[in-house]
Symmetry: C2
Subunit: 188 residues, 2 copies
């Protein structure tokens, strides 16, 4: 399994459907890094073009990998060692290509969009288990900009719960999606 996760802070939508760069949320980094570690993700890209936000994210990462946090909580260190802060999706693709020696497929997640590139969880598991290199993309704020969706090779079906309510936090969505995709053989 060569699974990477990308948390996109630009371009994403705000509440008014405008294209924005969202702020880093430290709890996103903590929660998604720990989920990534649980499901054997190879790297967790935090994608933001804003330099001050890169500096903030890097400061958090270093606190837990090399700073006081590393000694205080080694489990958190293990999780944060997966975090890589990059300015763009392009850089995430380049880094992954350098590591794996092949260009990754992009699977975007979205709470509502279904199009001709939509795939089920079952199909996504097959692709992942087929030893393909994948970056699984999650959007912050009100979700991934259409240009990212258009660029993705596949768009994962929305999480369907028991109700019609589909307003999970990106942290919860990442946890559920990784449990569904990365752990086909896990006892559920």
């Amino acid at each position: 399994m060569y699974l990477y996760v990308g948390l996109v802070h630009y371009p994403v939508y705000n509440k008014n459907n405008e294209r924005i760069a969202s702020a880093i949320s430290t709890v996103d980094l903590h929660d998604i890094a720990r989920v990534a570690k649980t499901y054997d993700v190879r790297k967790f890209f935090v994608i933001t073009p804003l330099v001050d936000q890169q500096v903030l994210a890097e400061r958090i990462r270093r606190h837990w990998t090399n700073g006081f946090g590393a000694g205080y909580n080694s489990d958190r260190k293990d999780a944060f060692e997966l975090v890589a802060i990059v300015p763009s999706l392009e850089q995430a693709i380049l880094t992954t290509t350098e590591i794996e020696g092949k260009v990754p497929l992009l699977i975007a997640t979205d709470a509502s969009i279904q199009n001709d590139r939509s795939i089920s969880y079952e199909r996504a598991r097959e692709i992942i288990q087929d030893s393909r290199v994948i970056i699984l993309l999650f959007g912050t704020a009100w979700g991934l900009d259409k240009c990212i969706i258009d660029r993705a090779d596949y768009v994962l079906d929305p999480i369907s719960g028991k109700s019609n309510y589909n307003h999970l936090s990106v942290r919860a969505a990442a946890a559920i999606v990784l449990d569904r995709l990365a752990c086909g053989e896990c006892v559920r």
Copy 2:
């Protein structure tokens, strides 16, 4: 399905295995309320005996159900309407019994404990689908105190990911457990 969720802030363990009351984390309330709404949970009990923490949690709840937040984001209102702040597990059991007309079973979650009351996800789904009234208990901080585990009718198996790492946030754990348990018939 008569599924309730309880987020326990006392008694839980701290890092040094001492019994404590943990602080309310607003992101726990947001994330778990939204997960609860997604999976048709009937009520989300926030359990804390600390009066100042009850006041804080209640203030957050009212902001989203009746205050500015209710108009600003009605999806959040729908989620927060499930939140009930109670001083103890006993009160959560009483409230559930009043609503449902029968005493709930308690299923505790824990990242490591396995004992003679441990059950698989498959068995837990059967119990839930058997129209039993259930409160699913999650611990904050370093997890549920032994006295809660001892009191539970069942203890759910730990989440097994792809690695041996089992240090998820309670928010991520609640998302994964509810996806596994409450949505047996969902397309995954």
